[in-house]
């Protein structure tokens, strides 16, 4: 059984979504996360700017 399928055995989790291996690996992929870091920061700066 794949890791992401294990928790679906519990009834409470059966209607949720659980990330697979690729999605999990992208969360800690330094290159991809650096790109996301830049994008998130730009968005947050815009939100801060709109809030003042």
């Amino acid at each position: 059984m794949k890791e992401e399928e294990l928790n679906f055995e519990k009834e409470q989790f059966s209607l949720t979504m659980i990330p697979g291996k690729f999605a999990r690996s992208m969360r800690t992929c330094v290159i991809w996360q650096f790109i996301r870091f830049v994008i998130i920061n730009v968005k947050m700066i815009i939100v801060v700017g709109k809030s003042h």
Binding site: N7, F13, K43
Partner: protein
Amino acid sequence: MARLVVLGGGVAGHTTATFAAKWLGSQHEVVVVTPNSKWNWIPSNIWVGVGQMTKEEVTFDLAPVYAKAGITFHQAKAVSINPEGSDSSEKPFVTIEYTEEGKAGETEVVEYDYLVNATGPKLNFDATPGLGDGNGQMGDNTVSVCTADHAVHASHKLAEAIEKMKGGTRQKFLIGTGHGMCTCQGAAFEYIFNIENELRKSGVRDMADIKWISNESFLGDFGMGGLHMKVGGYVVSSKLFAESLYAERSIDWLIGAHTSKVENGKVEYELLDGSKGEEEFDFAMLIPPFAGVGLKAYDKAGEDITGTVFAPNGFMKVDADYTAKPYAEWKASDWPRTYQNPTYSNMFAAGIAFAPPHLISKPMKSPNGTPINPTPPRTGMPSGIIGKAVAHSVCDLMTKGENAHLHEASMAEMGAACVASAGKGVFTGTAAAMTVYPVVPDFEKYPGTGRDTDYTFGEIGLAGHWIKHILHFLFIYKAKLNPGWTLIPE
């Protein structure tokens, strides 16, 4: 020379006082009254609570910073306000009681021309039997991460639990809210994932049962009625987002719960459907409900006018629309813009100290009449922005006269950033980075979700960790008034 007195030295009070001191210079006096000797970057208390940071890393002494800024500092708590003065004083004043060593218990009267109430909340542990000690402090049955000292205590208890698991004893963790009217679900949300990460790191995750208990009617409400955010190209409800996080980590949840009683190793609760139950635990971190700090107000004749100045929950009334109306009629325009007290124009409230006009989440009650719904969050970013706007208004009133334009900062027109970490490593662990814009949904401006989905987004990854680290160092740097501090936004 006029005098501005700021009550409170947290995010809102510190922001107000430091900007006011900078803008007013030596022409006017700025006074801060706060019972704490240290400033605390509260978001990092989560890391203290799992032993990943020390108290010293998230706090610093206020006195030298205020001395540098030319701010008069009283380590004391405000007891009462006389906005009209008294028989013996023409000027309005606050009565303070010192908390610093050597002067503890001494009282003093501090006159003011302008007053900003930024006292933050009273941690109302005693609202739930067994959550408090009966004297307003946290009891022995649970832990908290609301203050740095609480977080240090929590980390010791966590270490004890981990040792027990390493010795072969299974442990049950219960994290969430300790009352049906709590706010600050985000802090508990972040703490539960840090606990889970810490147990995994210690190699004892398989010996732990972790459960979330909360007054939210659905996972991901966060006291904001939930939000719809951009995730991976979809616009999804925070319910899906949050449930996925819990399911991935095998964390059970119990929602719509009013924690009615806490005992050693057990909580009693009532659910939105009216049913009642019990949950056992070995380690519990339950956020207490918030209330105003209990300031009294008196008119010139000494009559009690607390009910005029403050809402029943103890928070100060400001320029909000407090008219009672059903949920369907709530509007973004109900929320305050200038934070000026409607009765006394030289008084303002900033941060958690202002009375919200109503909830943001949908109000709910159990069939037994017990209200079970989150109260509105006022996190660091809104508190800082409000504090700066209030400082701007007060400075203009002091320098340009009482007809000066007041600056505005409505929570229905400002966003908030939330980074919920799961661990502290630079290359390990992940964080949920979320922004919401605006904090209070505006269904007239954004029909559908009430918010701008271009700027309401969330994603999970290392990038959030890096942002949380940067925010930690950046905001402590700013709060210490180091060179260039004004360039760092709130």
